[in-house]
Symmetry: C2
Subunit: 486 residues, 2 copies
């Protein structure tokens, strides 16, 4: 979208939203006010947490909503809608309120991460695009954070563009990955749009374009004497690539001395643990202990962790396919569910029952509070409360909403409300921070959750509890609905 500032995504919606808008329009439900929650049901890739991203693009989308005449013509070609409805669409804009957690916030399943309060018709239209944007960027930010966690301080670079699910997946994927902690991207357009550092040296085809590997290396190093990362696996890593890289480094060092810097090799195939250890030895023996070793080739959080366990001598990690497409968990199932109706200023909580228990929604207009340990500022528990409940100020007992016997005494805490106002009566009341700020925030946020929650496999489950009042309301409504039929 950024690469098309005038980009109008008004029709980026599911057709049933238009049908429902029409039904509500015809039934004179134009003024009905409702509250919808956005939440996830599960962290991606069995992660212990997720990292929220995409709000800035949601804001851009909301601000640009407008049905063009072309859009209206198209809609009227699908179904013979009344002229009144089409006129209504012509004047359509978003007039409601939106709250959200800021980008870079650590989030957990079953807590509201966005809240939309507006009339029913507007609420329908915007569901799909909000979910599309938030689901994608939160997915990739989370995947990136997991990979960066595995790399344990080493730089991770996003190399994924060519394997992304289309241009936007590459562009916004790079943005999300940067929020998640990668240090740079190969994606030039994402670099331009979001000021992400771009990196990259050369490909196998570059080496093959010269009559020998050594010639190719020398030519490259001459042109970029302060960024000569040489790709060593075009012909034979140990017998050709590394020896030729060492020859190149010698010639360059002799010629340029300390001006020749920030150099090294990249290995893109073979066993990265074995090859990197051999490479390190060869480079060190030749006196190039400051030469970097960069690895790429189908890396992800699991492989990086295993390579590090085996003592791989890799300084930085180029991660492509599995980061940008979030391999193993290709979609985040964020949903947008009706929580309440507002009538004469009063809220009427709404619930959706389901044969699948995890699909039963939590009713009511809510707020989300995170409690941190006063001493070490670690997150202890999240509490979903009704919007007019008082936030606890001293010790209280939180309990698991499913296994209610699981209780936890929460004490010595600082409480923080996570949902903040973004739009008020259709006006933006929030200044989206720069991407660099969001990335810093994410880093700080990740420091507030324990290592056990960040563990790659089988992480500790963070507590997201309901207030007693909300729990009671939910179960009252479930029983009421179910009792209708028994």
């Amino acid at each position: 979208m950024e690469w098309n500032k005038s980009g109008n995504l008004t029709l980026l919606t599911d057709y049933y939203q238009i049908s429902m808008m029409y039904a509500h329009f015809k039934n004179n439900l134009l003024d009905k006010k409702v509250v919808f929650d956005v939440f996830i049901r599960k962290n991606p890739c069995d992660s212990g947490y997720s990292l929220f991203a995409g709000l800035e693009q949601v804001i851009n989308y909301i601000r640009n909503i407008k049905f063009s005449e072309e859009d209206i013509n198209y809609i009227s070609s699908i179904y013979p809608y009344d002229r009144e409805f089409l006129d209504f669409l012509r004047g359509f804009r978003f007039t409601g309120d939106i709250w959200s957690v800021p980008e870079g916030t650590v989030i957990f399943p079953n807590e509201p991460i966005m809240k939309i309060e507006t009339n029913l018709i507007e609420a329908h239209l915007i569901e799909t695009a909000i979910l599309n944007i938030i689901n994608h960027q939160t997915l990739i930010a989370t995947k990136a954070a997991r990979i960066v966690f595995s790399a344990d301080g080493d730089p991770v670079i996003d190399f994924g563009l060519r394997r992304a699910q289309g241009p936007d997946a590459g562009i916004y994927g790079s943005r999300a990955a940067y929020i998640g902690g990668v240090t740079g991207t190969s994606n030039v357009l994402a670099g331009k749009l979001f000021s992400i550092p771009v990196v990259g040296t050369h490909a196998h085809a570059y080496i093959q374009s010269y009559s020998s590997e050594l010639e190719a290396f020398l030519a490259y190093a001459e042109i970029f004497p302060n960024n000569a990362i040489l790709l060593v696996d075009t012909y034979d890593t140990l017998n050709s690539g590394i020896p030729n890289a060492i020859k190149t480094f010698k010639i360059m060092k002799e010629k340029y001395g300390d001006q020749f810097k920030n150099y090294g090799i990249r290995i893109d195939s073979g066993d990265l643990a074995y090859l990197s250890k051999q490479a390190r030895k060869m480079l060190d023996e030749a006196g190039f202990s400051d030469a970097k070793i960069i690895a790429s080739n189908d890396l992800d959080e699991y492989i990086i962790r295993d390579l590090k366990l085996q003592g791989a001598k890799i300084n930085s990690w180029g991660v492509g396919t599995k980061l940008i497409s979030s391999s193993g968990c290709s979609a985040l199932g964020g949903v947008y569910k009706l929580a309440a109706e507002i009538k004469d200023g009063e809220s009427i909580p709404k619930i959706k029952i389901s044969e699948n228990p995890e699909k039963v929604t939590t009713p009511g207009v809510k707020k989300l509070i995170r409690f941190y340990d006063k001493i070490n500022f670690r997150a202890i528990v999240d509490l979903v409360m009704l919007h007019d409940e008082k936030i606890p100020v001293k010790n209280f007992i939180a309990f698991d909403p499913i296994n209610v016997w699981k209780k936890k005494l929460v004490k010595n805490f600082i409480a923080k409300e996570l949902l903040i106002p973004i739009f008020k009566n259709g006006e933006l009341v929030y200044s989206p921070p720069a991407l660099e700020e969001i990335r810093k925030r994410a880093k700080k946020e990740l420091s507030t959750i324990s290592e056990e929650i960040k563990r790659i496999n089988n992480p500790h489950v963070y507590h997201v509890d309901l207030s007693q009042k909300l729990w009671d309301l939910k179960h009252e409504l479930i029983n009421k609905e179910r009792n209708k039929h028994y």
Copy 2:
């Protein structure tokens, strides 16, 4: 991109392409002509085939390549490039030749599906965007074809937009899914851009906005008496949803007679096999044997196959997340590899050796021939040949390029060359067909491969062989390179 006709994706490239372009520019390699092949190494999701898609967007991308002043400024902010190079970029456009298989073609691993012949610098720039577009759309078209195969004649509808990896993944994913055989999409913007039929009725929130389920159903059916697909799982499918749907159908039939048509129910949770069978019985007993049953909820080719095996009474399938994000195989690993250099009209074959045998490339300027059985027009074998070899006209023996003892007598065939010219000297020489034509072509193409190849699990492996001459050339080059070091 389509939703932004002026969309300039020139910077949608990896930064190393710019570095390499600069290195070649500085080394006066501007006129060096090269040939690159695009191919896949593996079908996605262990499929027996892939379905090629995305060419039209590649064409749009190539035609719009142009570095804006803003782009040039950005590039010169990354590195102090020579002014000559920046001037060169200002005048840059694609001047070469591109061949491709048409969209909707069934393709297999290790055969050239696109071929680019141009100078080295242009060839580098365009690699990333070509792969991004082709990898994405081919992935989703293939996933869709697999799902449609499992649905065995039932309509499949794309419901994935909200779970797609960003706006483009939804938009071009819908396009690719339509090529793969889905009958419609919920994505309004994709419908507008590509004339894909859009479908959809209402969501749970619609039902919840009325004081009762029955009231909501009746209101909806009154407004859309010829498209009343009622969502029955908001409260209780068997005890509330279906009985209320039946009441609605009775009232509507009485009121509208045969004008009330194209009606039915949608089930979005619970056990779809059990619920659909119960629903069918209840609907039939009430006299609504023409009421349709549509199912959705995390479907894919495996679940649809299993539900059908268990006799689920489902007439059409709404497939979302797992189609649009290609769950289980979130990226297609298509690559773009140097095959030859052209010098004074002669081609010099180029190879890339790798520690990973599957990463060794096939050198030379090539063509791709598919041999069909003359009688039933089934595809027998694909043969990758050097471009100047004669295509066999009578019986010949094909052999597997890895297990060379695996031979096959090919007889009574019709041979077809699959790569066709798209650009010639930078000019488009191809008229991209309408999407509807591409979809028809895909259907026909899929009919030329056997059921065994289309099997969802463990499919038969289709033969992609090299001509003897090409095989010899490849092994000669491998030995030559490897012998340098032993």
